[in-house]
């Protein structure tokens, strides 16, 4: 009975999340909350994918935006060149391009570890960024790619803000379930084994290079899907989407929320979104520097709460219960 109750609660929460624009309409006439939540969920999908590497497999990538950007460009360019807004085509293009890019970069990086892995992913992602920035004929270069179409599924048109939100929310729920399912499977446990003791995993008969590569490609593919959703949402792709700033943003989101947990990347994206979009409007104009605020929050977490928001929550819960 109890697992049934838990499933019912999760299902209710998922439905409430997906239908947010419809029940929030009476008190949310400006749609600010819907837009904010939409972009937070895109960031959450991106952060969940990065956490597969950082938190589960112990692969600290500083180049994850390359796949986000690749997915965003692929969706936008495929839509414009093929003159279609059909979701299976543009989203499929995004997933495919991101997966192939992750395979190519992954082959080069998976045998390195720690700081070397970090620097290699950073350097290779910078190459992707440079291509996006310079190849004006295809990507729009420094002007970015504007006029990305909102997707359609057969005759269902996602161009209204509410339906666009619903598409993002459904994808988020699917991504969260995927990560949850992977984490509890033998595959997720094997990734933790690789993180904790790769040498021992090899001695047990696991091909750890292949395991790490599979995680890298999977995470890159999901990041590419997040990138496509970003392109549909904002109808624009910037080279910065593939840049270091965006990689760092995802990394900070994961660490602030709590790496290696399902709730961490999600909580982190909520906090980062609020810092980026809500906090500045509450401050005097001279202090509206969300990067600096985010930086300070990040430093505070690194110094005082290494386990992130999820870790803080757990500690508080244990303290309350032991009283």
């Amino acid at each position: 009975m109890r697992p049934l109750v838990r499933w019912a609660l999760v299902a209710a929460a998922a439905v409430a999340l997906v239908t947010f624009p419809y029940w929030s309409a009476p008190w949310e006439s400006t749609r600010f909350a819907t837009t904010l939540l939409r972009d937070a969920l895109v960031l959450a999908i991106f952060a969940l994918s990065l956490d597969l590497l950082v938190g589960r497999a112990g692969m600290p990538s500083l180049g994850h935006a390359a796949f986000f950007g690749a997915g965003a460009y692929a969706a936008g360019i495929a839509g414009q060149r093929l003159a279609t807004d059909q979701l299976p085509i543009t989203l499929g293009a995004a997933a495919l391009v991101a997966a192939l890019l992750a395979l190519v970069i992954g082959v080069l990086v998976v045998r390195s570890e720690g700081i070397f892995f970090l620097m290699l992913t950073l350097a290779l992602a910078q190459i992707v960024f440079a291509i996006a920035f310079q190849w004006t004929a295809v990507t729009g270069g420094s002007n970015g790619l504007s006029g990305v179409g909102r997707p359609m599924l057969a005759t269902l048109d996602f161009s209204s803000p509410d339906l666009m939100y619903v598409l993002v929310a459904i994808t988020f729920v699917a991504a969260a379930f995927l990560v949850w399912g992977l984490a509890r499977s033998p595959y997720g446990r094997a990734l933790i084994g690789v993180r904790e003791n790769e040498r021992r995993m090899r001695a047990l008969g696991y091909d750890t290079a292949r395991l790490r590569l599979s995680a890298f490609v999977l995470a890159g593919t999901i990041a590419g899907i997040a990138g496509a959703l970003s392109a549909y949402s904002t109808r624009f792709v910037s080279a910065q989407d593939a840049g270091l700033g965006n990689s760092v943003r995802a990394f900070v989101t994961v660490l602030v929320g709590g790496a290696g947990t399902l709730g961490g990347p999600i909580a982190g994206s909520a906090l980062v979104s609020v810092i980026e979009r809500v906090v500045p409007s509450l401050l005097p104009v001279e202090l509206r520097i969300s990067e600096a605020i985010l930086g300070l929050v990040f430093i505070a977490f690194v110094l005082f709460a290494r386990q992130g928001m999820v870790g803080l929550g757990r500690q508080t819960w244990l303290r309350v219960r032991s009283r």
């Binding site: 399912g181 499977s185 595959y187 003791n197 040498r199 021992r200 001695a203 696991y206």
Partner: protein, 245 residues
């Protein structure tokens, strides 16, 4: 079952293995002894595929495995208990052993929790090494002796044909040493065991035959009784051990 031919390994100018040939038939329990720096751990690591030799060959059940990586050798039935504990520290004893049990079916099983049978097999193995009741304890919370028992459980859970033990009793109390020794002694006689060990009581209790390494060469090989009586061995090793003790 496992054999080496003219195995060589140099680290820079230091020659750790200088032409080691040995042949351990199926079911034999072979101890490798020798003073510190004789090349014992290097030999075990070359057998396991963690270090590649600079020359010579390793064969497992007649097959040349010299160029195979450690994970490929593991799949062919080689299990390795390290000198230093190598476990998955935030995971429980049960999860540690389950990772070894699951290795046979591979990691590409998504979305479903690991089958109960894997945990049952892990628990049975833990009971066999004397860790019943400690299944849910994380590695960090285990004592040194328990970690060594867990190491053995993880290696046995691979269901190996050849078990490589690198000082399984290192750092253990006499009681723990006796427990591990009896545990290894009671293993299936069909299992081939290569054991590096300093404790002569353990060696003479477990080994059918003994190979003595000195400066990367085999200087003696024979039954435990032969080696005990060998004058050269006394000079380079046993004699020293007695004077040290």
């Amino acid at each position: 079952m496992i054999e080496t031919r003219e195995l060589r390994r140099a680290f820079g100018g230091v020659v750790a293995l200088d032409g080691v040939s040995l042949k351990v038939p199926e079911g034999e329990r072979r101890a490798i002894i020798g003073p510190n720096g004789a090349g014992k751990t290097t030999l075990i690591n070359v057998l396991a595929g963690e270090i590649s030799p600079t020359g010579g060959a390793v064969r497992l059940a007649g097959r040349d495995i010299t160029r195979l990586r450690s994970w490929q050798r593991a799949r062919l039935g080689l299990a390795h208990v390290y000198q230093r504990t190598e476990l998955f520290s935030p995971l429980s004893s049960r999860e540690n052993v389950a990772l070894a049990v699951a290795a046979r079916r591979g990691p590409y099983r998504l979305f479903r929790a690991p089958p109960r049978s894997e945990y049952a097999a892990a628990d049975a193995m833990l009971e066999r090494v004397g860790l019943a009741g400690r299944e849910s304890v994380v590695v960090r919370a285990l004592s040194h002796g328990e970690r060594r028992q867990l190491e053995l459980a993880v290696a046995l859970a691979q269901n190996p044909r050849v078990l490589l033990l690198d000082e399984p009793t290192a750092g253990m109390s006499p009681v723990e040493t006796a427990r591990i020794t009896e545990l290894v002694a009671g293993l299936d006689r069909a299992l081939t065991i290569v054991i590096v060990e300093h404790d002569m009581d353990v060696v003479f209790r477990l080994a059918d035959r003994v190979t003595v390494l000195h400066e990367g060469r085999v200087i003696a090989e024979g039954t435990a009784a032969d080696v005990r009586g060998d004058a050269l061995v006394h000079d380079v090793y046993l004699g020293k051990a007695v004077t040290v003790a």
